[in-house]
Structures are given as structure tokens and as C-alpha cells.
């Protein structure tokens, strides 16, 4: 974006050369700094009025040579023209804001500061650099890795684990689980006993034991066991099973 400029530290060149180099300037402040050096004085002693005239003259010539100037340069030209007129006119006691002298002093300060940073950059680059003048160990020794395990567990997990254990005990104590299971043995025994009394097709659900249809868990267990028992009896050839449609009630009758 910022093309490498011609060496701005070199002796000031004739105007024609300067114009050719315009695209190489890094903005209006850079151009001003180059022009300021032609005054060959300490930047703090610079004549801002003369500098403004130099800049405006430069812009004028660039325009006459149809060199395209970036907007920045034109804005700076307008501002310097304004500053020049302020510097030439007697100060207006009614005017607000900084005086023309303050503005000029600030411009001189900016130029000096930019110059100082350029010199600082040059000094930095002139230091003995790592990899150019100073060197790190060429064959750094590798560090062997030892594995160590750090266990990770969070307080929330710990509390949840405990809560899970305790609530399981509260609502489904271990001993009660057995009471909610109607075993296949129980169901077989009950069906063998009752099937003889069933004359014709009877809904399988009627074979569920008393007290096992109220809660879903007990009903589920008893249904599963009774159905398994009916399959077992059918395999033994003691009953027939019938279902009219998918998910329709299952009926059973003795053979």
C-alpha cells in the first residue's frame, strides 16, 4: 500500500525530480518533511510560512503537469493556504480556537516527531539483530516429555452423582424393586390354574393378577410375564392364541 519511497534522506532534489516522485511519498506529512529539509535548518526553527509556500507551489506544479494527487494532498494544500493567510494577516482578537502561531508550532512539532520516529526506526534496525548479528543456540536440546495424569472432576458432577444415588434410594428402594416384578414363573403358574376355567376366547389381560393393574410399572411387568406365559403354553400345545389385528387385544382359549 505504501510503495517504497525514494530515499528521502538524500539531498533535496530539483523540483522536477520531486514531482516525479510524488506517488512515492508516504502522505502529505512525509512530503512536507522532505520539503522542510530543503530549508536546511533545525526543524524547530523552520519557517512554516515558507514551508506552506513550498508545498503550495509543489501542488501547483504537480497539477500543471497533470499528476494525479491523492485527496490527502489537496486537503493539506487547502489547510496550508488557510494557515498561510492567517499567518500573514494581523491576529483577530475575536477569533476562537488556536492562534495561527499555535497551528504553525503544532505542524513543526508533528514534522519533528515524525523525523524523530524515522531516526528511531533506523537506530532500531541498526542494532545487532538476532539471526543477523547475534545468534541463539543452533542445536537446542529437546526436552523429553513425561506424562502425568491430572484427574478432572467438577463439583457439580460430584453433587449430581450423589443426588442421583440418593434419589434412587428415596423413590425406588432396592428391596421394593422385586415386589414390582411379576415373574414368568408366577404367570405360568397362574395361567395353568385358570385356563381350564376359561371356556372360549378370553382376553389375555383378564389373566393379570389382582392388584397388578393399578400402577403402570406393575401392570407392565404383569402384562409382559403373562404374555410370555401364554406363548410358553401355546408352545406346549395347551392353548391357542388369537389377535385380530396389529396391536389388537390378544385372546387365548384352551385346546
Amino acid at each position: 500500500m505504501n510503495p517504497t519511497p525514494a530515499n528521502t534522506d538524500s539531498i533535496p532534489r530539483p523540483d522536477e525530480a520531486l514531482i516525479v516522485d510524488v506517488p512515492g511519498y508516504d502522505g502529505p506529512l512525509d512530503l512536507l518533511l522532505t520539503l522542510a529539509r530543503t530549508q536546511k535548518v533545525d526543524l524547530m526553527q523552520i519557517s512554516v510560512l515558507a514551508l506552506a509556500e513550498q508545498y503550495l507551489g509543489f501542488i501547483e506544479r504537480a497539477r500543471s503537469l497533470r499528476i494525479e494527487l491523492a485527496a490527502d494532498y489537496l486537503v493539506m494544500a487547502a489547510w496550508l493556504a488557510y494557515l498561510k493567510s492567517r499567518l500573514l494577516l494581523p491576529p483577530d482578537p475575536q477569533a476562537e480556537g488556536p492562534s495561527a502561531e499555535d497551528l504553525a508550532a503544532h505542524l513543526a512539532f508533528q514534522l519533528e516527531r515524525l523525523q524523530a520516529m524515522r531516526e528511531a526506526a533506523a537506530r532500531l534496525m541498526g542494532r545487532p539483530l538476532l539471526g543477523q548479528d547475534r545468534f541463539a543456540r543452533g542445536a537446542p536440546e529437546t526436552v523429553a516429555k513425561l506424562r502425568a495424569t491430572r484427574w478432572q472432576a467438577g463439583l457439580i458432577e460430584l453433587m449430581q452423582a450423589y443426588a442421583r444415588l440418593r434419589t434412587r434410594d428415596e423413590f425406588r428402594p432396592y428391596a421394593y424393586d422385586r415386589r414390582d416384578i411379576w415373574s414368568l414363573e408366577d404367570a405360568l403358574e397362574r395361567m395353568r390354574r385358570l385356563i381350564g376355567h376359561a371356556g372360549d376366547w378370553t382376553d389375555l389381560m383378564r389373566f393379570l393378577p389382582d392388584g397388578w393393574t393399578a400402577t403402570p410399572a406393575r401392570r407392565r411387568s404383569a402384562t409382559a410375564a403373562t404374555f410370555a406365559a401364554s406363548l410358553e403354553l401355546a408352545r406346549q400345545g395347551r392353548v391357542e392364541l388369537r389377535q385380530e389385528a396389529v396391536f389388537a387385544p390378544i385372546s387365548v382359549r384352551p385346546r
Partner: protein, 206 residues
């Protein structure tokens, strides 16, 4: 041009060997030093200078290199810390110890509803989160387990009694999570515990 003084030559060899990626032989050194230098003599001086230091000048075949002194090799090892999650059996056992300490193995088993494998408690003890407490003054004088300072540190607790009780857990909504839907819990790698966790436990649960 005359050769640099001996102490300069010594500095040169020192810098060259330090910066080089490979060991350097006498010829390499001579080629890179000012004409008339005597790298062999510089090496001899350097070798004396570095004798017994943390870094030593070693001969590697026909070449020379700096190497860490053999007795300091242990410094060249770095611990790589690898984090692992506690198994579900481990988390549950740890929770029970924290809430019920001092607690016996039988009590842990009663609360978990499954037998506690030796490995689970051993692991927690090895991790430094659980230690043996006083023996219970009951028949058989069973050992008890308590949590350690390291446990409190890890979980940011001032004491185990700071753990929220069941009622507080419920109030805070922490009890909503279902068994098996625990976020981030590693599958139970503890074989003994898994096999004794009867699958039927959950089959008819709500």
C-alpha cells in the same frame, strides 16, 4: 593480517559452536575463523573452562559440540499433564465419601446399591482425594474412608460440610438430571462395578 589473540579465538570457537546446528570439526572452525587461527588450542582452553559446568564441550566423532552435562539430564524432561475424567463409579464413590465421611466400604456399597470394586477406592486414594480414616469402633472394626485436603482444594471447598444437602440440591434444580443422562461423565470403565450394576435396575424405572 595476523591471527586474533588466543582469548579472542576462544570466544570465537565458543560462539561458533553455540550457534551451529551441527557439531563442528577443526576444519570447519578453521575455515570460519580469521586466517592463522588455531582452533585446536581454543578448543583445549574452552574444554577446560567448561569442565564441570552445566554445559560441557563434547567430542562427537571428529567434531565438537556443547551438550548438557550428563548429570543434569533430568532437567531436560518436562512433565506433560494429561487430564482425564473420573469414571462414573469413581465419581459416585467419591461423592458418597464426601457426604458420609467417615464411611466404611459396606456403607458405600449399601448407598450405591452395588459392590465397590477395590480399584475404585484405590484409585481415589492414589489420586490423593480419599484417605483412610479411623477404624469404626464396631464389630470387625472396619476401616473408614474420608476425603483429603487435596479434595477440598480441587473442589474449592472450605470443608466437606459445605457440600449442599439433598434439599438444597433439589431446590437448585440439580436433581433434574436423569441417570445415564449425566453430562460429561465418562462411561464406567470399572469392570467390576459395571457387571454388578444390574441392567434391570433401570428397566422398570419411571
Amino acid at each position: 593480517m595476523s591471527a586474533p589473540p588466543e582469548d579472542q579465538q576462544e570466544r570465537m570457537v565458543e560462539a561458533l559452536l553455540f550457534a551451529s546446528a551441527q557439531p563442528l570439526g577443526l576444519q570447519d572452525l578453521a575455515r570460519r575463523m580469521p586466517a592463522g587461527s588455531d582452533p585446536a588450542e581454543a578448543l583445549r582452553r574452552l574444554r577446560t573452562r567448561y569442565a564441570g559446568r552445566g554445559v560441557e564441550l563434547l567430542r562427537v566423532g571428529d567434531a565438537w559440540a556443547f551438550r548438557t552435562a550428563a548429570d543434569l539430564g533430568f532437567l531436560m524432561q518436562e512433565e506433560v499433564v494429561e487430564t482425564r475424567r473420573l469414571s462414573r463409579a469413581g465419581t459416585e464413590t467419591l461423592a458418597i465419601v464426601a457426604y458420609h465421611q467417615p464411611v466404611t466400604r459396606a456403607e458405600i456399597e449399601e448407598i450405591r446399591g452395588v459392590s465397590v470394586s477395590r480399584g475404585t477406592l484405590d484409585q481415589l486414594i492414589e489420586m490423593g482425594w480419599v484417605r483412610l480414616g479411623r477404624r469404626r469402633q464396631t464389630p470387625g472394626r472396619p476401616v473408614t474412608f474420608v476425603v483429603t485436603e487435596a479434595f477440598l482444594d480441587h473442589f474449592g471447598l472450605a470443608s466437606a460440610s459445605d457440600l449442599p444437602g439433598l434439599a438444597e440440591l433439589r431446590a437448585s434444580g440439580l436433581l433434574d438430571s436423569r441417570p445415564g443422562a449425566m453430562p460429561g461423565l465418562a462411561p464406567d470403565g470399572d469392570g467390576a462395578d459395571m457387571s454388578s450394576d444390574t441392567p434391570g435396575d433401570d428397566l422398570f424405572g419411571d
